[in-house]
């Protein structure tokens, strides 16, 4: 029983620890996902800017509103990135971010130059514009690659950082499963004892008799279960012995009473014979009265014993237990 208690406490503690650990991991995953969302959004915005530049370059009279919107969204998203990066800070990621920032600054400068040059209508301006679009194309590809690399670095860093937590989580989970299995093996014996106890009790009740009760047979190494079954069997044995002794005692008392009655009857007969031949003797009459009364007492006692026997029989084999 002590083992079961200890295992129960351990299971409870482990469950709480696992719940807290899972909550922590879930929080970290959420932060990681937010960061990846920001990076992917930045990637999408640079693509968007490039797409707008190419469209404007093809159709010169197109408004730059869409381009401005994409630039504003990128810059706004950059602030979120800075906030998230602080939590997943590492040297390689910082370097990569510096590279991206530097590439972005170049990209942004080229985009601004493109906007300015686009307004000028001259052959030289067209040559400059061609070169700017070409540069924007290459830096955009470079930015996309840098972003992909950043995501890879971040994932690697995240996996390294949470390797211990995950291992701990798996270890605790395995331990919990093992403890549950151990608890089940311990409870199996207890459940088997309970089933046997219930079936034996039911047998006693349905038999409507407490005569020749059968003890529980248990093959269990658990000390507590053995002790409980021994106690039950001891009680059953006591009941069996008591019932046997009571029946025997009453029968013995019966036969003794009848023997005494016969002796007194003989004595009375003797007194009658003595009184027939002699005049009435007061003392002898008193003795006769006493003997008559003794016989009456004995017969009453025998009748009471008979009542007691029927009470006991009713207890043993009537429907008292049914109620």
């Amino acid at each position: 029983m002590t083992k079961i208690k200890i295992v129960g406490i351990l299971i409870f503690t482990l469950s709480i620890t696992l719940a807290l650990l899972s909550s922590h991991m879930s929080k970290q995953n959420s932060i990681n996902n937010d960061f990846l969302d920001v990076i992917n959004a930045q990637k999408a915005f640079t693509q968007d800017i490039a797409k707008n530049i190419f469209f404007i370059y093809r159709y010169r009279k197109t408004s730059t509103n869409e381009l401005d919107k994409s630039i504003k969204a990128f810059i706004k998203n950059m602030k979120n990135k800075d906030r998230l990066i602080v939590q997943g800070d590492s040297k390689s990621i910082s370097n990569k971010l510096d590279d991206i920032t530097s590439a972005w600054n170049k990209y942004y400068l080229l985009v601004q130059n493109f906007r300015d040059t686009k307004e000028i209508v001259s052959p030289y301006a067209n040559i400059l514009l061609d070169k700017l679009v070409n540069d924007i194309y290459h830096i955009n590809i470079n930015l996309v690659l840098e972003f992909d690399e950043l995501i890879k670095l971040h994932n690697k860093e995240y996996d390294n950082k949470h390797y211990f937590t995950k291992t701990l989580q798996y270890t605790l989970f395995t331990l919990l499963v093992m403890l549950l299995l151990y608890l089940f093996t311990q409870l199996k014996g207890l459940i088997s004892f309970m089933q046997k106890f219930l079936s034996t009790s039911k047998k006693i009740i349905t038999n409507s008799s407490i005569k020749e009760l059968e003890p529980i047979k248990i093959k269990d190494e658990n000390k507590e279960i053995l002790l409980a079954s021994n106690n039950f069997n001891f009680l059953v044995e006591k009941i069996n012995i008591s019932i046997e002794n009571s029946s025997r005692s009453i029968e013995h008392s019966f036969s003794s009473l009848y023997q005494v009655e016969n002796n007194i009857e003989d004595l009375l007969e003797l007194i009658y014979t003595m009184q027939k031949s002699l005049p009435i003797d007061k003392e002898l009459t008193k003795k006769e009265d006493a003997l008559i009364d003794s016989l009456e007492e004995l017969t009453t006692s025998a009748k009471k014993l008979q009542d007691l026997k029927s009470d006991l029989d009713a207890l043993v084999s009537s429907c008292i237990l049914k109620s």
Partner: protein, 218 residues
């Protein structure tokens, strides 16, 4: 006989005048019962004060082994009901009451009887006498059950109520005296051998009343 005539004939109501008898008869009634009729169960409550006008009733209890424990006989002209308290508006029965011989019972509404007579201090003395008589029966019962031996029990009954003794079967007498039939037979033989009684065709005849009294009070 009318209720009024019965009331006038009972000694219990002899102190009442004509008007009071008239009043009493207005809330009284008569019932007749056959032999062995179970009139009341023990602990039963009754609204009526009952008098046994004729016949014989028996008071008894039943033990856990379903044996009948005889307590006493109630003779004609006696109160059937038991009064445990004068404060209650109902009457409780301490024991079972059954009819031993065909009987006539007078029923008086106890609540009206109480308000019209007892509360006006009438018939209180008579009622007290009845309660005393019941108390004496219980005293006899205690003597019979706890003090007397078998010989004294039989002698006391022979001395006190020979007519009843001869009227009843031996088995019933042994039940009444709470002794075994064999013991009753032994005692009668002992008394016969000592020339105190004689048994002619199963009927007991007392030959020496003084000797019988002596045995009873020994």
């Amino acid at each position: 006989m009318t209720i009024k005539e019965i009331l006038e004939s009972l000694e219990f109501f002899s102190s009442l005048d004509v008007q009071e008898i008239e009043l009493l008869s207005s809330f009284s009634s008569l019932s007749s019962y056959a032999n062995e009729y179970l009139l009341h169960y023990e602990n039963e409550q009754s609204q009526n004060l009952e008098f046994l006008i004729s016949g014989l009733a028996k008071s008894y209890k039943i033990d856990k082994h379903k044996n009948e424990i005889f307590l006493y006989y109630i003779y004609k002209g006696s109160l059937l009901s038991e009064i445990e308290t004068f404060k209650s508006q109902t009457l409780d029965f301490f024991s079972n009451i059954s009819i031993a011989e065909e009987s006539l019972v007078l029923n008086i509404d106890y609540e009206l009887f109480k308000s019209n007579f007892l509360d006006k201090n009438k018939l209180c003395l008579e009622l007290s006498c009845e309660v005393n008589a019941r108390s004496q029966k219980l005293q006899s019962l205690i003597n019979r059950e706890f003090i007397y031996d078998s010989v004294q029990k039989v002698s006391m009954m022979l001395y006190g109520d020979l007519e009843m003794f001869n009227k009843l079967k031996r088995h019933d007498i042994s039940l009444i005296l709470h002794i075994q039939p064999a013991t009753l037979s032994r005692v009668l033989n002992r008394l016969k051998r000592n020339n105190i009684i004689d048994i002619i065709h199963g009927q007991i005849k007392v030959l020496d009343i003084n000797a019988l009294k002596e045995v009873a009070n020994d």
